[in-house]
C-alpha cells in the first residue's frame, strides 16, 4: 500500500511539474505570439526597460568594476609565473566577453530584476488586479507579461556589454595603471585573439537567452504564486534559485554549442 501511495505521489508530482511547464510555455507563447499592440506596447515596454534595465545599471557597473579588477589581479599573479604578463589583456577579455560578462550580469539580473518581477506580478495576483483586467477585457498576459519578457531579452545583452566594458576598464586600471603591464601589449594581444563573431557576438546571444529565460521564470513564478504574502516570498526565492540554476546550465549548453567545436 505504502509503495503504491509513493508511486502515486511521484506520479502526481510529475504531473504537477509537467503541468507547470505547459502553463509556463503557454504564457510565453501567448505573450510572444499574437498581434503586436502598437497603441500601448511601446509605452509599456519602455516602462519595463526602465524598471529592469535602468534600475540594474548601478549594481551591474559596480560589480563589473570589481570583477575586472579581481580578474586582472589574479591573472597577473598567475601569468607572471610564466613571464607572460603581456597576455593579461587577452586572458581578461576572453574570460569576460565569453563567460563572466553574460553569466555574472545574468545572475545579478536574476537577483535584482527577476525577484522584483515575481513580487510585482505576485502582488498583482494577490490583489486581484489580474482578474480585474480580464473583467474589463484586457488580456493580462499581453498587457503584463509581454512587455516584461521583451524588456528582459533586450535589457540583458545591453547590461552584459556595459558590464564587460566597465570590467575591462577595471582590469586596465589594475593591470596597466597599477601593475605596470604595457598598455600596448595589453590591447594588442587582446585584439589579436578576440574575434567579433566568435567572441563578442556569441556573448550577446548568450546574454539575450539568459534575459529571456530569467524573465520567463520570474513572470511564471509570479503568475503561479499562491496569493498570500508567504506565497509571494516563496515565489520570489524560487525565481532567484531557478533562474540562477537555469543561467548556469544554459551557459554550459550554449558554450558547448558555440565554442565546443573549436
Amino acid at each position: 500500500m505504502t509503495i503504491l501511495d509513493q508511486i502515486a505521489k511521484l506520479g502526481q508530482g510529475g504531473l504537477v511539474v509537467v503541468g507547470n511547464l505547459g502553463r509556463a510555455g503557454m504564457i510565453v507563447a501567448l505573450a510572444l505570439l499574437g498581434p503586436p499592440d502598437f497603441r500601448h506596447g511601446p509605452a509599456l515596454l519602455i516602462r519595463q526597460l526602465y524598471s529592469v534595465g535602468v534600475f540594474s545599471l548601478l549594481i551591474i557597473a559596480v560589480s563589473g568594476l570589481f570583477v575586472g579588477m579581481v580578474l586582472a589581479l589574479q591573472g597577473y599573479n598567475l601569468l607572471i609565473r610564466f613571464d607572460a604578463v603581456e597576455a593579461l589583456g587577452q586572458a581578461v577579455s576572453v574570460t569576460l566577453v565569453r563567460e563572466l560578462g553574460p553569466v555574472i550580469s545574468a545572475l545579478l539580473f536574476a537577483g535584482r530584476a527577476g525577484s522584483a518581477l515575481t513580487a510585482e506580478i505576485g502582488l498583482m495576483k494577490a490583489t486581484e488586479q489580474l482578474a480585474a483586467m480580464e473583467v474589463i477585457g484586457v488580456d493580462p498576459i499581453r498587457r503584463v507579461v509581454r512587455p516584461r519578457l521583451w524588456a528582459g531579452i533586450i535589457a540583458m545583452p545591453l547590461l552584459a556589454q556595459i558590464f564587460n566594458v566597465v570590467a575591462l576598464w577595471g582590469a586596465v586600471i589594475i593591470g596597466v595603471g597599477w601593475l605596470g603591464v604595457g598598455a600596448d601589449a595589453f590591447w594588442t594581444n587582446m585584439q589579436d585573439y578576440l574575434e567579433f563573431r566568435r567572441d563578442i557576438f556569441n556573448g550577446v546571444i548568450k546574454a539575450a537567452v539568459f534575459g529571456g529565460v530569467i524573465t520567463w521564470i520570474a513572470v511564471f513564478q509570479g503568475y503561479n504564486t499562491v496569493p498570500t504574502s508567504e506565497g509571494i516570498s516563496r515565489a520570489t526565492t524560487r525565481t532567484v534559485v531557478y533562474s540562477s540554476l537555469a543561467v548556469l546550465g544554459m551557459d554550459f549548453l550554449l558554450t558547448a554549442v558555440m565554442f565546443g567545436v573549436n
Binding site: I46, F82, A84, L158, I162, N164
Partner: protein, 154 residues
C-alpha cells in the same frame, strides 16, 4: 513629465549598452586593425604543417608585423594547409622567392608567419602564391629523426 524622464533614462540606458557593444567590437576584437583596411593585398602559401597557426596570426618581415592571416584551409587535393594572408601595401616588391616560414614567438608558443624576402627579379603581387615555405617544425619529429639516424650511423 514622469514618463518623459523614464523615456530619457531608458534611452540613455540603451545608448550606453550600444556604445559598450561598439567599444567591444572596435577596440577589443580589433576590427579597426589597419590590415583590414583597403590598402592591403593578398598572398597565400601552402604548408605541410601549420601546427597551431590561427586566423589573425601575425605576418612579419624582419620581425615587423606587415599583415595577418585571414584564413587557413586544407587544399583537398594535396592535403596541405593553405594559408591566406593580407599584407600591407606599404610592403611591396616582395620577391617571388620569398620564403614563408611558420615560427613561434614568446613563451606561450604563439605561431606567426615570417616572410623572408629573397633576391629574385620577379615580385609577388595581389593574389599570388608564396611558393617557398618552411613548415612548422615539430619537436617530436625532429627527435625521431635524430634517433633513427643515430641508430643506423653510430
Amino acid at each position: 513629465m514622469q514618463s518623459r524622464a523614464i523615456e530619457l533614462a531608458v534611452g540613455l540606458f540603451i545608448l550606453a549598452g550600444i556604445l559598450a557593444l561598439a567599444f567591444l567590437a572596435i577596440q577589443v576584437s580589433g576590427i579597426n586593425r589597419e590590415f583590414d583596411s583597403k590598402s592591403t593585398y593578398q598572398l597565400y602559401a601552402e604548408f605541410n604543417n601549420v601546427a597551431g597557426l590561427t586566423r589573425k596570426a601575425k605576418v612579419t618581415v624582419a620581425g615587423v608585423q606587415v599583415g595577418l592571416v585571414t584564413a587557413i584551409t586544407i587544399n583537398p587535393e594535396s592535403m596541405r594547409a593553405r594559408v591566406d594572408m593580407v599584407i600591407s601595401s606599404e610592403v611591396k616588391d616582395l620577391s617571388e622567392d620569398t620564403i614563408a616560414a611558420i615560427q613561434t614567438a614568446g613563451i606561450l608558443g604563439e605561431k606567426y608567419i615570417a616572410l623572408s624576402p629573397g633576391g629574385a627579379l620577379e615580385t609577388l603581387s595581389d593574389g599570388d602564391r608564396v611558393h617557398d615555405t618552411q613548415s612548422a617544425l615539430i619537436l617530436e619529429e625532429l627527435v625521431g629523426k635524430i634517433l633513427t639516424s643515430r641508430a643506423t650511423n653510430p
